[in-house]
């Protein structure tokens, strides 16, 4: 059986059978009605041969389901282009080693969540000692001086502090995306650095759950990182980018 890249379906135990498993909760008391509702929902989602293999009472009128089904949908894999940060990712120890070897000094990285956005979760996950999901933050890197300014920082303040500390890179976090506030804030920050003639002085990195590399590049950043990013991803990118800039002779 040949793989047809134009018609990619999930693989259960044979090519393109479309088999998938899912689990979810419905706010219906456990019983035949809830089970039928789960089944109909699965069919509506495009599953053929949907089968509710497990139903459990969660209490308070909620029911849990495990459902198997075969999706009729498929994806044309030849039609996908992905824009992502393509540099190698090194672990913390390697990042420290590379910085020592390539720069012979600590790198300074400053970060903040700008504008009205009060969420520090993103910037904390990348910068704070504790990090996220077992991945230490930049504060933990021996060869990085990390300055986390927290949330609700004015773009002007972030830029001023970055100049004062002579930061190598600036991380701008945006979590709230209501009314496209993140796009406005990020654009404003880039414009500010350009107006001050400082755009080339810093590596600019944007981050947030609803951001990706493509969008960040469009907004004038050097990179963008979304969900699932850890400190080592950001550190590796910054190192690569600084080296690249240096070889282009744009530094100092």
């Amino acid at each position: 059986m040949d793989l047809n890249l134009r018609e990619i379906r999930p693989y259960g135990d044979s090519l393109s059978d479309g088999a998938m498993q899912l689990s979810f909760t419905l706010p219906l008391p456990t019983g035949p009605l809830a089970k039928e509702a789960a089944l109909r929902l699965a069919r509506k989602m495009g599953f053929a041969e949907a089968d509710v293999v497990h139903m459990a009472d969660l209490g308070e009128g909620f029911s849990f389901f495990v459902v198997y089904g075969k999706t009729r949908l498929f994806i044309d894999a030849t039609d996908i282009t992905v824009t992502a940060v393509k540099t190698d990712v090194w672990d913390r120890a390697t990042c420290d080693e590379k910085i020592r070897e390539l720069f012979g000094r600590k790198l300074k990285i400053m970060g903040a969540c700008i504008g009205e956005d009060a969420h520090t979760v993103g910037i904390d996950a990348i910068m704070n000692m504790k990090g996220y999901a077992g991945h230490y933050g930049l504060e933990r890197f021996a060869m990085i001086d990390a300055f986390n300014l927290g949330a609700q920082v004015e773009p002007e303040t972030l830029l001023a502090r970055a100049r004062e500390k002579e930061a190598d890179a600036i991380l701008v976090s945006q979590v709230v995306t209501q009314r496209d506030a993140h796009l406005q804030n990020l654009t404003r920050f880039v414009e500010l650095t350009e107006a001050a003639g400082l755009r080339d002085r810093f590596v600019l990195v944007a981050g947030g759950p609803r951001l990706d590399h493509k969008l960040a590049l469009e907004l004038g950043f050097d990179a963008g990182f979304g969900r699932g990013t850890f400190a080592e991803h950001v550190a590796s990118f910054v190192i690569h980018h600084l080296v690249q800039k240096r070889s282009l002779g744009s530094e100092g």
Binding site: T25, L58, G59, H119, G134
Partner: protein, 524 residues
């Protein structure tokens, strides 16, 4: 039965060293008060409510008093009450409206101030003790299950949504419900007021939210036949105030660590030490089980290398706790299952550590935290890791088993995640119920050798801390690899040196209730 053969005289020596460490900083605790201790005293004397700008009245009063707080915030308030013949809340409302200046009161005899203060503090103790009696009587009628108690969290941000999820979890066997606080509340220097429906990654700790959850859990307990314990978080800049609110609303457990805020929230060390002591006296009077936060050490430091720092910190938390009147059965000392699962024999190392904690603190209901650091989006592996954690929990007879969620590190738990976690624990803990009495270890086994190694390293660390001093050890990064100097950190401005006239009417009343009359002057 001792499985590890830990030398009890070594345990007693470590306990002695921990006592020396904590007593070294007692003079610092005694000479200082904090804005939140003073606000907690005002709350104990009956002050509650907010002004027209939603600023809590205890904050209004303490902000208004400024330098005068060094005399104890209640002193001027009691004088004003005597002078105006108004209640404490009426006085505070007048202050809030700018109708009364506590700096311009006519002189009131000190003995009258002290007399009224003691009277109100005694009433407050009665109010707290009524809650203790209520808890005991409910537990007699609705007995709690045997340990390990299954502890799950709710964290929707909306107290009413939390209630539905908590009740569902109780119907599926949860013994303890913890309402996670919204991100950032630990750094607020006031306690929000009223019911709340918006939070991020958790729900605001307010007295009204405590009341709403308490009554809902009491309701569902009547149906299941088991009392349900309610937990909230006192750690942060308002530790003593939140404990007072919890004591009034019959919370059963409080996260109340002596060092967590310093290390993980960058709160000033002196502030935290002063706050933890007073708040733990209130916990003790209210028979609230405290939970300590040693599990967090292992999120920054390596769980194999830093195992002894957890045990050392437990000894320090125990020493502070006992000094504040908490009996061993009210000390939910923390530890965690955080060793890299890819490490060979990781389970044996986890089991060794869990058994060790059990053997060192036989009368305390240890708080055992599930894997978090090595949880990924692989929910299937995560579920398996939680099963191994539950096996270690039942094997080592933990008191408080904080059930792991398979979606840890992704999002706050779905309703179904909590159900799956309870299923996991029920299965493992039923299947291996008596494993502790059935298995012994060879003297040369890894489990026993590792436990002795951790004990020896703990002993070394505690002795070094005693030589160096706790504050210097913390500023040198000995705990959790994080350095926090004593003259820095959040909330520093709220640390005040007491004046010679300082008076806290709750101190003698609490001390007498807890039988601490002899030692209390060493500490506060």
């Amino acid at each position: 039965m001792s499985l590890l053969g830990i030398d009890q005289s070594q345990v007693q020596r470590l306990r002695g060293t921990a006592d020396e460490i904590t007593r070294q900083i007692a003079p610092l605790l005694k000479s200082h008060t904090t804005v939140t201790v003073e606000r907690a005293v005002l709350r104990l004397l009956g002050l509650d409510g907010v002004d027209h700008n939603q600023v809590p009245l205890p904050n209004v009063v303490v902000n208004h008093l400024r330098e005068k707080v060094r005399d104890g915030a209640s002193t001027a308030m009691l004088a004003a009450m005597l002078h105006t013949r108004a209640s404490i809340t009426e006085v505070a409302e007048r202050v809030a409206r700018g109708e009364l200046d506590l700096h311009r009161l006519p002189a009131v005899p000190e003995d009258e101030i002290h007399h009224l203060g003691l009277e109100l503090a005694t009433e407050s103790m009665e109010r707290i003790h009524a809650m203790v009696r209520e808890r005991r009587s409910r537990m007699d009628r609705l007995p709690v299950r045997e340990q390990p108690w299954k502890y799950v969290i709710v964290a929707t941000g909306n107290i009413y949504e939390d209630v539905a999820q908590a009740k569902a979890a109780v119907r599926r066997g949860a013994d303890i419900i913890a309402v996670i606080r919204t991100t950032g509340q630990s750094l607020l220097d006031y306690v929000p007021y009223g019911p709340t429906t918006e939070g991020f990654g958790g729900t605001y700790a307010t007295q009204e939210n405590f009341r709403i959850m308490r009554s809902s859990l009491d309701e569902v307990a009547e149906e299941t036949g088991h009392y349900v314990r309610l937990v909230n978080y006192a750690s942060g800049l308002c530790m003593p105030e939140i404990v007072v609110m919890g004591a009034f609303e019959r919370l059963d457990m409080m996260l109340n660590d002596s060092m967590y805020g310093i290390l993980f929230r960058d709160i000033n060390p002196i502030r935290t030490f002063v706050d933890q002591f007073f708040s733990r006296m209130v916990d003790a009077a209210a028979e609230i089980i405290i939970n300590t936060g040693e599990d967090n050490y292992l999120t920054t430091a390596d769980a194999v290398e830093a195992a002894h720092t957890v045990l050392a910190s437990d000894f320090i938390n125990e020493s502070f706790g006992l000094a504040a009147g908490l009996r061993p059965e009210l000390l939910g000392l923390g530890h965690a299952f955080e060793i890299d699962p890819d490490l060979e024999d990781s389970f044996l190392l986890e089991l060794s550590q869990a058994l060790l904690l059990r053997e060192v603190f036989p009368d305390s209901p240890l708080k055992y935290m599930p894997p978090t650091k090595h949880m990924s989006g692989d929910i299937f592996k995560g579920y398996l890791m939680n099963a191994m954690f539950n096996l270690a929990g039942i094997w080592s007879q933990q008191g408080i088993q904080l059930l792991g969620m398979l979606t840890e590190a992704m999002h706050t738990p779905f309703l179904q995640d909590r159900y799956l976690a309870l299923q996991n624990a029920d299965y493992i803990m039923t299947a291996a119920r008596h494993i502790h009495d059935q298995v012994t270890f060879r003297p040369d086994s890894l489990v026993i050798r590792r436990a002795h190694e951790v004990m020896d390293k703990t002993s070394g660390l505690l002795e070094s801390v005693r030589e160096t001093g706790l504050l210097k050890a913390i500023s040198s990064g000995w705990f959790a690899d994080i350095s926090r100097p004593a003259d820095q950190g959040k909330g520093l401005l709220g640390v005040l040196e007491k004046s010679d006239a300082y008076f806290n009417p709750c101190k003698p009343v609490l001390a007498s209730r807890l039988g601490l009359e002899k030692e209390i002057d060493t500490w506060i």
